[in-house]
């Protein structure tokens, strides 16, 4: 539901040369021979107050979900995570939350780099090729939205 996911570049089999952000230049690929399959980003254990933002769910629904956690859920703080394209949206959600709380909420943002794994499946007719995996990096943001302590 709230997969940490990069929707624009989700796991659509594509031929390889679309991607320019390959981290391993040593691997030379023939565009015909390989099919690209992207694996899901590594999932991390999730607490109740973690919100992973994606691009598929409606923005308002994700915002409402965060609001519910803060107000009805009784959490003092929540973490909003966004990866890749969803970074923008994660920031938007956090700012909207802050604006609607009339300054009661504070934000603390962290960025990180997430390693993603791609599978390359060979399509060659003589089937000697080994499937390859390669890793690439993508940026992520983790925004802590919290009520500051009273003192």
């Amino acid at each position: 539901m709230t997969d940490l996911r990069n929707p624009g570049m989700s796991s659509i089999p594509q031929t390889a040369p679309v991607h320019t952000d390959s981290t391993s230049p040593a691997v030379e690929m023939d565009p015909v021979e390989y099919t690209l399959r992207k694996r899901l980003p590594r999932k991390l254990p999730k607490r109740r107050n973690d919100v992973y933002v994606n691009m598929k769910t409606d923005f308002r629904a994700q915002l409402a979900r965060c609001q519910k956690l803060l107000e009805g859920g009784g959490h003092r703080e929540i973490c909003v995570h966004g990866l890749g394209l969803a970074i923008n949206r994660a920031i938007n959600i956090a700012l909207q939350l802050q604006a609607s709380s009339q300054g009661a909420l504070q934000l603390a943002a962290n960025t990180s780099t997430v390693e993603l794994v791609d599978d390359l499946e060979p399509e060659d007719p003589d089937e000697a090729g080994e499937p390859m995996t390669r890793t690439r990096n993508n940026s992520a943001i983790h925004i802590k939205v919290f009520y500051p302590d009273p003192q």
Binding site: G8, S10, S11, I12, P13, Q14, T15, V18, R37, K38, R39, L40, R42, K43, L44, P45, K56, V117, D119, P122, E123, P125, E127, A128, G129, E130, P131, T133, T135
Partner: protein, 984 residues
């Protein structure tokens, strides 16, 4: 007085004594209407009669009831009574009455005489529940009824007491008898207590649990773990030189349909592969079905290889002969006599150690039951582990080839296969299984018949074991099963999981702490590369080890005894018993691999175990909080994965054809069980084949439509209009005779990877909101020439598509996939959430025929005229679109149905009219699985459509609405918009 009344009177008077008579003429006759002693009715009657007697209105006969116009008994009161005559007459009456009272009719029960509060349950069965005075009579009656009944009841009476039946030996005998026809899996009894069992494919399988758990099972699959017993899958082992094996197997597969047996990674034994098998050398035309296969990793530069092919039991029947022909294995090797020897020998070794001090005790204890004990010594019937639903017990299981040295071994039911589905299945495994512990020095030194101590002596084997255990340990650190490379294989030797059985059911969760402990680098390596090749080796591959492990399994009873002797109750058995080491294979199952969304949904692990250990692993797995799914869950699993399910969705395979026939019979039976007035009238719904899809006919029709269309276009190159569907229909009807002449070739499902990919590219709307247009560049644009060249290759094919409904609606089995007309698309453009067009109701002109047939069976007169009349009426239909094909169809039907006698109300009789143009929208194909998808949140269906039809449709659709079709359930008139996706 009518004749009936006279008759009735005679009947009434039959048992009366001769002296009793009602006569009209002579009132003297003994005064048969007594004056005073009658009930109210009689009195009033008498009164009226006396009053009426003055008018002296005599009317004859004994008439029932009260008659206003002076019926009744017009008599005068006698002036005197002769005592003797009177008494004699009464005596006759009394005796008649007594006779009537004592006589019992046939169905009368003794306890009928008892008042209600004294009746008891099952009184007629157990006469002791009756009061004593009635018992004798009841006994007599019971005997009589038993004699009257057939001899079946006597047999039943002979059956043993429950206690005797439940005795272990007898129970096993009964179990063996009951699985003679349909073999049980090892977990059968567990399942039978909790599942609705079905007899399928020669096995008894759990269909669905008796409790409600559809959604919990889905949740388990998508967030925790669902467990299934897949032991009914058949394993066929091939042994031989690598190149010879590959050479013979390559005849069965084609590289065009994806990687084959020779794929490098699978060949090394590191991955499980899956492949579609065809009849030898027949690639596109005669498919058999999908199989998964596993190569044994190479042992030091030997070319002798071992391969396991796992196939569905319905597929195995076709696959095994095919394998025998391609490998030229025709010599059946008789099963060796060895298996008989080993258990005896093993039993002696097992008993030699723990038993001696135990047995005398046991004998003393059971002294009173010596007879039984003696019988046990003679040996209770062995539990039948060997068995197979797909072959008779005494057929050979091994075939050898004299020419190329390949050996085929049928390993069906030799191994247990469990499937765990879900992102947490690895943590369930990690919690349940523990890498086998080393055995201590003392055991190592002495020779043993068990396999593990022997292995412990070998340094290299222990090294390997250590490495495998390390890999397994890393497995605990990953968070989701989907993170691993798909198809990874891991060999392992584990301890008996019964030893670590928790006392309470606990949900296995990933241990976050452990994840951090585990070396990050190693887990990354595992994620990227998978398991190193040598770690894929397992001793499960070896027949001797498998047999040894199976024969030496500690029984549950023995294990419990050992547990009870532990000093601290509940603690682990300290030196793990030597028998408790089991070689297993863990095989990763890829999740959803196709499509854009929910990728790697439903990934999981398969566990392969030696036979006999099924329950020993099942219960510990269940205790880790997994859900158990039946057959219907595997269907849902593949549906959510977007993968075809065997044999449901393989209509071109022999197993699929058989399945369809069975399904048709089943559905038709269900349909016929309803009263005709309550049935869905599929004719009125315009559904030609609600139970079985005529794929062949569909493919042929579309092939013809497209060819005709092409020719016409060549002739006058007229512009493409939106009414093409209508013109095609006309063509259809005009040239139906051509189809009959044309030699029919079999339809196939399109599996050529490249073609499917091309088609998939054409299906997508080129520019839409969510998708980037950049992908269009890869696919050559769809035009007439591209289509023609595509169709020359795959004209008679159908292709697998996934349909997603745009708004509401739940597609059902055999829902029809149709082409939307231009007006429909306009409607869709105007309002996006529109519910779609409606099919005008059809006219059922078979109804009158059924009726007339019924009539004619009663009185065979003048039916043909009436039926003709109704026929004439039916032919002018209200809808203009449907009127076109109808004259031909009704003619067809008339000519066809007159000889055939099985007209079922609401179904089209057998020779179907044109399936594609029967409704107002042209049909493309049908749905084979459809449901509300919990993962997508809307109705989703998987179906097959004709390739020619699909291409033709796509070509005529505007670019922004490419791949839009209509979907209609067989029992509904409402069309729904759906989006076609072909996923590769």
């Amino acid at each position: 007085m009518s004749a009936a009344k006279v008759k009735m009177r005679q009947k009434k008077m039959r048992n009366q004594p001769a002296s009793v008579q009602y006569s009209t003429s002579s009132p003297l006759n003994g005064g048969d209407k007594p004056t005073t002693s009658k009930g109210g009715d009689g009195q009033s009657d008498a009164r009226t009669s006396t009053e009426r007697s003055k008018s002296s209105h005599h009317k004859g006969g004994w008439v029932r009831g009260h008659h206003k116009d002076g019926g009744g008994y017009a008599k005068e009161m006698p002036k005197y009574i002769t005592a003797g005559a009177f008494a004699r007459a009464r005596a006759a009456e009394v005796s008649a009455m007594l006779k009537a009272v004592t006589k019992t009719t046939g169905s009368c029960h003794v306890f009928g005489a008892l008042p209600k509060h004294m009746r008891r349950r099952a009184m007629s069965h157990n006469t002791k529940r009756l009061p004593h005075r009635l018992r004798e009579v009841a006994n007599r009656m019971r005997e009589k009824s038993l004699q009257a009944g057939s001899k079946k009841k006597k047999e039943q009476a002979k059956s043993k007491s429950r206690k005797a039946r439940r005795r272990h030996g007898n129970l096993l005998l009964a179990f063996n008898r009951r699985q003679r026809k349909n073999v049980w899996l090892e977990t059968h009894i567990w399942h039978a207590k909790r599942f609705h069992m079905v007899k399928k494919w020669g096995y008894c399988l759990g269909e669905r649990p008796t409790y409600k758990c559809y959604r919990p099972c889905y949740r388990a699959m998508s967030s925790h773990c669902l467990l299934q017993d897949l032991s009914y899958y058949c394993c066929i082992e091939l042994q031989g030189e690598e190149h010879k094996l590959l050479a013979s197997l390559s005849q069965l597969t084609s590289k065009e349909a994806g990687p084959t047996f020779a794929a490098a990674l699978c060949l090394s034994g590191r991955r499980q592969g899956s492949v579609m098998v065809y009849r030898a050398g027949q690639y596109p035309s005669q498919p058999l079905g999908p199989v998964t296969f596993l190569w044994r990793p190479r042992t030091q530069d030997s070319t002798h290889r071992q391969l396991w092919i796992w196939a569905h039991p319905t597929l195995k029947l076709d696959l095994l002969p095919e394998l025998q022909t391609v490998c030229q294995c025709c010599e059946a090797v008789l099963p060796p006599v060895v298996p008989v020897v080993t258990p005896a020998e093993v039993a002696s070794t097992v008993e030699s150690e723990p038993k001696p001090e135990k047995t005398p005790e046991a004998k003393k204890m059971t002294g009173t039951k010596r007879k039984r004990n003696h019988k046990d010594d003679s040996g209770p019937p062995a539990k039948k582990i060997l068995g197979d639903g797909t072959r008779s017990p005494n057929t050979p299981v091994t075939w050898k080839s004299s020419s190329n040295g390949i050996v085929i071994n049928d390993l069906t039911m030799e191994m247990v296969r469990y499937r765990l589905i879900g992102p947490q299945s690895h943590s369930v495994l990690a919690e349940t299984l523990e890498a086998a512990t080393d055995c201590d020095e003392m055991n190592k030194s002495q020779p043993s018949s068990l396999w593990w101590p022997e292995h412990c002596k070998d340094e290299s084997k222990m090294n390997l074991h250590q490495q495998q255990a390390d890999v397994f340990h890393i497995l605990k650190g990953i968070y989701s099963t989907g993170e691993l490379p798909s198809g990874t294989v891991l060999g392992l030797t584990v301890d008996d999981p019964r030893l670590t059985l928790p006392t309470k059911k606990v949900k296995a969760l990933p241990c976050v702490k452990q994840a951090q402990e585990v070396d990050e680098e190693k887990s990354r390596e595992l994620m990227l590369r998978g398991v190193p090749e040598h770690c894929c080796q397992s001793f499960l591959w070896e027949q001797s080890v498998r047999d040894n492990v199976t024969d030496n399994k500690i029984s549950e009873q023995e294990l419990n005894r050992m547990k009870s002797e532990v000093l601290v109750p509940g603690s682990r058995l300290s030196p793990t018993p030597l028998q408790g080491r089991v070689p297993i294979l863990l095989v990763h199952q890829p999740g959803k691999q196709v499509g854009h969304e929910m990728s790697s949904w439903g990934a999981g692990w398969d566990v392969l175990l030696p036979k006999g250990w099924g329950m020993a692993f099942w219960v510990p797995l269940v205790y880790r909080g997994v859900r158990i799914g039946g057959l219907n869950m595997s269907l849902k699993h593949s549906q959510n994965k977007g993968a075809p399910h065997f044999p449901h969705d393989y209509p071109d395979c022999p197993a699929g054809v058989r399945f369809q026939e069975e399904q048709e019979v089943e559905l038709l039976d269900k349909f016929k069980r309803r009263p005709p007035a309550k049935r869905t009238n599929y004719i009125k719904h315009g559904c030609l084949a609600p139970f079985c899809c005529p794929w062949q006919q569909l493919a042929e029709e579309w092939e013809l439509i497209v060819r005709e269309g092409g020719e016409e276009r060549k002739e006058d190159s007229r512009t493409q209009s939106t009414t093409e569907a209508d013109t095609e229909m006309e063509e259809m009807t005009s040239c139906q005779d051509v189809t009959m002449i044309k030699p029919p070739s079999r339809f196939t499902v399109l599996r050529n990877r490249k073609s499917v990919r091309l088609l998939s590219g054409w299906c997508r709307p080129s520019t839409s909101k969510g998708q980037r247009p950049c992908r269009v560049g890869e696919v050559p644009p769809l035009d007439r020439s591209a289509m023609r060249s595509f169709l020359t290759a795959h004209g008679m094919s159908v292709v697998w598509v996934r349909l997603t409904l745009l708004s509401k609606g739940k597609p059902e089995l055999h829902a029809i996939v149709c082409v939307p007309t231009a007006e429909d698309l306009k409607l869709l453009k105007k309002e996006r959430g529109s519910s779609g067009p409606q099919e005008p109701p059809h006219r059922d002109h078979f109804k009158s025929r059924i009726k007339s047939r019924k009539k004619s069976s009663k009185k065979s007169a003048a039916t043909s005229q009436s039926s003709d009349k109704t026929e004439g009426k039916a032919s002018d239909l209200p809808s203009a679109s449907a009127s076109d094909p109808n004259p031909t169809t009704s003619e067809d039907a008339k000519s066809s149905s007159s000889p055939s006698s099985d007209l079922v109300f609401g179904l089209w009789p057998d020779p179907l009219p044109s399936v594609s143009s029967h409704c107002s929208r042209v049909a493309l194909g049908w749905v084979t699985q459809g449901d509300f998808s919990l993962s997508a949140g809307c109705g989703e269906a998987l179906g097959l459509v004709s390739v020619s039809g699909l291409l033709n449709t796509l070509l005529n659709q505007p670019v922004e609405h490419r791949g839009m079709v209509l979907l209609r359930n067989p029992s509904s008139l409402q069309y729904r918009f759906a989006k076609i996706n072909i996923e590769v």
